[in-house]
Amino acid sequence: MATTKTKPAKSAKSAAKKSNSFLDAPINSKLSAEEKLALYRMVLGIRRFEERSLQAYNQGKIGGFLHLYIGQEAIATGIVSLMEKDDHIITAYRDHGHALAVGMSMNECMAEMYGKYTGCSKGKGGSMHFFAPDKNYWGGHGIVAGQTPLGAGLAFALKYKGLKGCALCFLGDGAVNQGAFLETLNLAALWDLPVIFVIENNGYSMGTSLERSSAQQNLAHRGDAFGIEWEVCDGHDVFEVREVANRAMIRAREEVKPFILEIRTYRYRGHSVADANHMKYRTKEEIEEYKKNKDPINVLKAQLLADGTLTEEMAQSINQEVKDEAEASVKFAEESPYAPKSEIQTDVYWEVDNDTEGKLKGTYFFND
């Protein structure tokens, strides 16, 4: 029923050596200039969007939590760029990058953070709960690892319907210690579900370093316990992410099997903006070091300048465009209304919202 043999880890590192750059890998070399620029626009757009949202948060215009993806942009950008019609994606609360990558507008995302009626969830979900089913994006989930069984469920549905797609289920390095995820690994392997668990390993779960949360820190290796193949790679080079993820996605679609992809990355900001503490549990040097050598935007920019796809001028204008777009989204959000109070009790039950003839009997809500 389920595969019990696992091939040894193929680290993307080695693959990297074969070519002097992941840019030369077929999946990347075939990219048109437009497509490469689109990748650049995306990583930059996510960065500028979140920087602007941080500003709004600090001005007290956005409340609740704000978990920034800054530093990890190449992962969602690279993987989503490989998605086909029947591929689906789901992630945790650090979900802005994935949202923009699948094509959600800055307007609906910013408005959602503001809690406005024009937000992607009408202001009902907030920063941690973005959804775009029409773009195969199933959220945006606030409970650590709570999305992982759902990700397996998306894969289950694809297999059940005979569709040739895969489910991309993102989680963090701290989420790997939730029972729901570990149970799901066994289920996905036992039932041969085409789901790829993408562990965005940024080294910390809030203020807890990987060493203090996992007894054995090669997280992808956990796949061995359930007969799931895995691979580990770095997340700062969008082309490396694409090269490795592409193989995993093809395998999931073709062989209809789960896979674990651990991607080493780093978050520049605190766990959430409320995390004033993040200079205490890691050094300034550690952060600067990563920014200097592995910033996903700089790394991509350098490659595109080198291969002539990009010029400094183009970079400037793209930067200006996404900045303007982010600025416009703030204006949009601020000018948008909140939902009317009556909306508090809509979107609770499908049957109520659709007032299905004859079907709607009894009381659904219980305030005096």
Partner: protein, 325 residues
């Protein structure tokens, strides 16, 4: 009409819906090859095969969440909790994901899953296996819950629940699985949110649900014979949505109410029904709303003591007499 068991009625509902809709599948521990721990799915795996009946490992959180995720893409999974008590290891998936994803997405998705399994005591299996969590389920907007007390309702409510586009919990009862009732051969549905008056009466109203409704009906018969009391017995069938109208009409007629349920009293379903009645029929009440619930302690193992702990005819009768005063 043929007499069939509660178990058979549930099975018919599952089989009919599996045949009606290719997206309906059953997931749970021992539901397929083993034919179900309580044989509710007996024969279905032989008939419909691996795709529609899926045996799961002992990972309730994972397969509950999996069913929720699959339902987002149009699959309509019916997951079996061998005991509803085991849903305690899957509460986050059921109470956060199944109940809130629609809301948090601003209505962009809906999750048509059914969570079914026995939720009852009285079988001498101890505290960990005797939970009746319909109160906790109903506390979470986004979820629905029904508690069939007989074969007719079991089949009709199960079919309605599977066709419902929201998550529905169907609370079954192991003690009823083997009991028989008349069930029509032609297809039918029992809509959610519609209570059933098991017995018309004028002196007092008993509101109950699940197996307790049957015990209440028997108590009502004795109360007629032995005390010439005319007791109306209402079987809620559905807890959320709730048929307030039927409850209130009856109370306005009889002016006295006893609520009977198997759950522990603190915040049991009947606490809510009690509030509802005194709030909406205050001027019609000649006596306070009385309750018969499980004696407030973890479910005891010893059979005779457990039979006393959960509502029985004797305790119901004395509570009714107390309420009539």
């Amino acid at each position: 009409m043929p007499l069939i068991t509660y178990r058979e009625a549930l099975k018919q509902a599952l089989a009919e819906e599996i045949e009606r809709d290719e997206n309906v599948c059953i997931i749970g521990e021992e539901v397929a090859e083993y034919n179900g721990a309580y044989k509710v799915t007996e024969g279905l795996w032989n008939r419909y095969g691996d795709k529609r009946l899926i045996d799961a490992p002992i990972s309730e959180a994972a397969f509950s969440g999996l069913a929720i995720g699959a339902s987002a893409l149009g699959i309509r999974p019916v997951i079996e909790m061998m005991f509803m008590s085991f849903s305690y290891v899957a509460i986050d998936q059921l109470f956060n994901n199944a109940s809130f994803c629609r809301y948090m997405s601003g209505g962009l998705m809906n999750l048509p899953i059914v969570v079914r399994g026995p939720a009852n005591g009285g079988t001498n299996v101890g505290a960990t296996h005797s939970h009746t969590p319909e109160n906790m389920v109903a506390n979470h907007p986004g979820l629905k819950v029904v508690c069939p007390s007989n074969a007719y309702d079991a089949k009709g409510l199960m079919k309605a629940s599977i066709r419902d586009n929201d998550p529905v919990f169907v609370m079954e009862n192991t003690i009823l699985y083997g009991e028989k009732w008349e069930v029509p051969e032609e297809e039918y549905i029992v809509e959610l949110g519609v209570a059933n008056i098991l017995n018309e009466g004028t002196d007092l109203t008993i509101v109950s649900h699940g197996r307790c409704a049957i015990i209440s009906l028997n108590a009502a018969k004795k109360l007629k014979e032995e005390y010439d009391l005319s007791v109306e017995v209402i079987d809620l069938r559905s807890i959320r949505p709730l048929d307030e109208e039927t409850i209130l009409e009856s109370v306005k007629k009889t002016n006295r109410v006893v609520l009977v349920e198997e759950n522990k009293p603190f915040c049991g379903v009947d606490a809510q029904i009690s509030h509802l009645i005194q709030f909406k029929a205050f001027d019609y009440l000649d006596a306070p709303v009385h309750r018969v619930s499980a004696i407030d302690a973890p479910q005891i193992y010893a059979k005779p003591l457990e039979d006393w702990q959960i509502p029985n005819e004797e305790r119901i009768i004395s509570k009714v007499l107390e309420c009539i005063g």
